[in-house]
């Protein structure tokens, strides 16, 4: 697959169809992958593909990266789950479908965290999203690398995140509150969760609006709670459960639980799952006369 990927990247850069290929490369020791931006066709061989390619590179397509946008049309190496974020970005008018060349990677899963890698992809080191994945064959791409995956996701979602959500739901209101207050109390307000998220693309995050200061910047329990809740609310109906925020969080706050819970609520209320169809707008931004709730009519 790597060879085909490199060849394609080379071709795209040589023909001038794209100006930069956003993909994965090795670190110096070849133990971890790290994002690379190939602008010269001769460097295409730096691209790699393996189960360590966890990052969701779609964040680099957002307006947060003006220097990357300035390079010209990008091609992006993307797994099905990453493509879901690209789809959301398109539905939210961040760019048009034709503004990005998607090199879709047929995928059999990645590691939850790169440091867990011992040379073999075992189910227990894969994130919950991979165990339930219905986009191992990229659903929107200009070119697909790799053969068809025959994986079918289980009927009822499985994995740690789903188990944990059930357990938390059973805790009752006070139990839930105590659980989250404790988790959020560790937050160090680094905003890694926001920075790594391709759907947190606001030019000025609400945390940075300081006249008045909407969200206290201090990492005390009150400030942490308002930050984490606000961010969660801003991702309702949009988050794809790519898991980047939890992976980036340096203090291991289980953000995937928040995200998956919201996804379930949106599915139950609006029968909507984000990131599948670039022509359907997310439920939070559309008005529909046949909305099943009548309070708005």
């Amino acid at each position: 697959m790597e060879e085909i990927l490199r060849k394609k990247a080379k071709e795209l850069l040589e023909s001038g169809e794209v100006k930069v290929v956003i993909g994965y490369g090795w670190n110096r020791q070849k133990t971890r992958t790290s994002p690379v931006f190939i602008t010269d066709a001769a460097d295409s061989d730096r691209l790699v593909w393996n189960p360590l390619c966890v990052n969701n590179l779609s964040v680099y397509l957002t307006r947060k990266f003006k220097d990357i946008q300035a390079l010209g049309k990008p091609a992006i190496v993307a797994k099905g789950c990453d493509i879901r974020n690209i789809v959301v970005l398109i539905t939210e008018a961040q760019f048009k479908r034709e503004d990005v060349y998607i090199i879709g990677m047929a995928c059999e899963g990645v590691v939850y965290r790169q440091e867990l890698w011992k040379g073999e992809l075992k189910p227990e080191i894969m994130p919950t999203k991979c165990h339930n994945c219905d986009v191992r064959n990229p659903h929107l791409a200009d070119f697909v690398v790799g053969g068809k995956s025959s994986f079918t996701p289980p009927e009822a979602p499985t994995g740690m995140v789903f188990d944990k959500i059930k357990a938390i739901d059973a805790m009752g209101q006070t139990g839930k509150w105590a659980f989250w207050i404790n988790e959020f109390s560790r937050c160090i307000k680094c905003y890694a969760c926001r920075q790594v998220c391709s759907l947190c693309y606001c030019e000025r995050c609400i945390t940075e609006k300081n006249m008045p200061q909407w969200i206290e910047t201090s990492a005390h329990p009150r400030g942490n709670l308002s930050w984490n809740l606000t961010r969660a609310m801003h991702l309702v109906g949009r988050c794809t459960f790519c898991g980047e925020c939890e992976r980036a969080c340096p203090v291991n706050i289980p953000l995937n639980l928040v995200n998956q819970k919201m996804i379930q609520v949106v599915k139950d209320s609006f029968d909507f799952r984000s990131g599948y169809d670039e022509k359907t707008h997310p439920p939070m931004i559309v008005f529909s006369p046949d909305d099943k709730d009548d309070f708005i009519k």
């Binding site: 110096r28 947060k64 220097d67 905003y191 920075q195 790594v196 201090s218 990492a219 340096p250």
Partner: protein, 336 residues
């Protein structure tokens, strides 16, 4: 004073002695599946098998958030009352030799053009007990910045683990000697054989002198190298928060329109608002320019101004980075 022994069964005694005398005992312990420095009250909470704690112990001299003053807005104007720091003995157990040296870097900044008492008062009561490394990982690069597990500078007590899990104690400073004296029941006399220390391999392609020299030459400023190597930085700031020498902070007011508190909160050069002017102009417009600042701070500004180090090679920033931006790869590039 001859070296002492801290027997593992006496560690609990030491923790209790510090706590009983009104002090805090900070040690690596498990929190949310990570080894972190935090308050412990029992020896059983202390983890001994770890490389470095996730966080730096700087938060005990430079808290992530602290109230520095209280204010009320009166008819005649604003009434501002400064807070006093009441520092108590704070013992950091299980620091590593690289990060032990970081305290002098923080001191350099916080006593440079202004004596920041919020820092100095805490540092005065801080005791750094280093445990030398018998394990390292691929992110460790102390030897490349001329430090090593044998470095004793910065430690008040320098401990070597023995085969049986005890510690040989070397008191390095007056503060360390006074500490042993104050808690002498926990220490004993004796001799033991230390475990072999690990020695991370020096990254041969890095030459610190060359790095500094190249950074001094202003021509590098718009070098394409910055964009090429560091445009992947997403500006999360996690590296700066875990870094033992990063020290930037912001002052913010919280409360109502009429009363509240003024806080000193960690800030980071990796954030776009760090240099954003009121006019809307941002001299560090792109993320790689912000990253350039972090590197310049560590390898040009610091060595230019102070005798202490800007980077101690602990590797925390490498481990925590969600895009695996490895500072040593940039050091390598600037050693050419």
């Amino acid at each position: 004073m001859a070296d002492r022994i801290l027997k593992k069964e006496n560690l609990g005694k030491l923790v209790a002695s510090v706590n009983d005398k009104g002090g805090r005992f900070i040690a690596p312990s498990l929190d949310a599946r990570q080894v972190v420095f935090k308050d412990v009250t029992k020896a059983e909470e202390i983890v001994t098998d770890y490389i470095l704690a996730r966080n730096s112990y700087k938060e005990y001299v430079f808290p992530q958030t602290e109230v520095v003053a209280d204010f009320t807005v009166e008819k005649h104007g604003v009434d501002l009352k400064s807070r006093e720091v009441e520092a108590r003995e704070t013992v950091v157990f299980g620091a590593r030799p690289c990060e032990a040296t970081s305290l002098s870097s923080l001191r350099a900044i916080f006593t440079w053009d202004y004596i920041d008492e919020f820092y100095t008062k805490r540092e005065a009561t801080l005791v750094v007990i280093t445990v030398a490394c018998t394990k390292a990982d691929e992110a460790c690069f102390c030897t490349t910045v001329d430090l090593s597990p044998e470095t004793r500078a910065g430690s008040d007590l320098y401990l070597l683990e023995t085969e049986s899990g005890d510690y040989i104690v070397e008191a390095m400073t007056d503060k360390g000697r006074a500490f042993v004296e104050r808690h002498k029941d926990a220490f004993s006399e004796g001799a033991a054989k230390a475990k072999t220390l690990v020695m991370p391999e020096r990254i041969g392609t890095i030459d610190l002198e060359k790095v500094s020299a190249r950074l001094k030459d202003k021509g590098h400023y718009d070098d394409q190298v910055w964009a090429r190597l560091t445009r992947k930085c997403i500006g999360c700031g996690a590296c700066t928060f875990v870094c033992p020498t990063c020290h930037c902070f912001d002052i913010t007011d919280e409360g109502t329109a009429f009363a509240g508190e003024r806080r000193k909160n960690w800030d980071a050069c990796q954030y776009d608002t760090f240099t954003l002017h009121a006019s809307g102009h941002n001299p560090r417009h792109y993320q790689y320019q912000r990253w350039r600042n972090r590197f310049m701070c560590k390898f040009n500004f610091y060595p230019g101004k102070f005798a202490s180090k800007g980077c101690v090679g602990c590797g925390r920033c490498i481990r925590v980075c969600p895009v695996r931006l490895d500072i040593t790869e940039v050091m390598e590039e600037f050693s050419r």
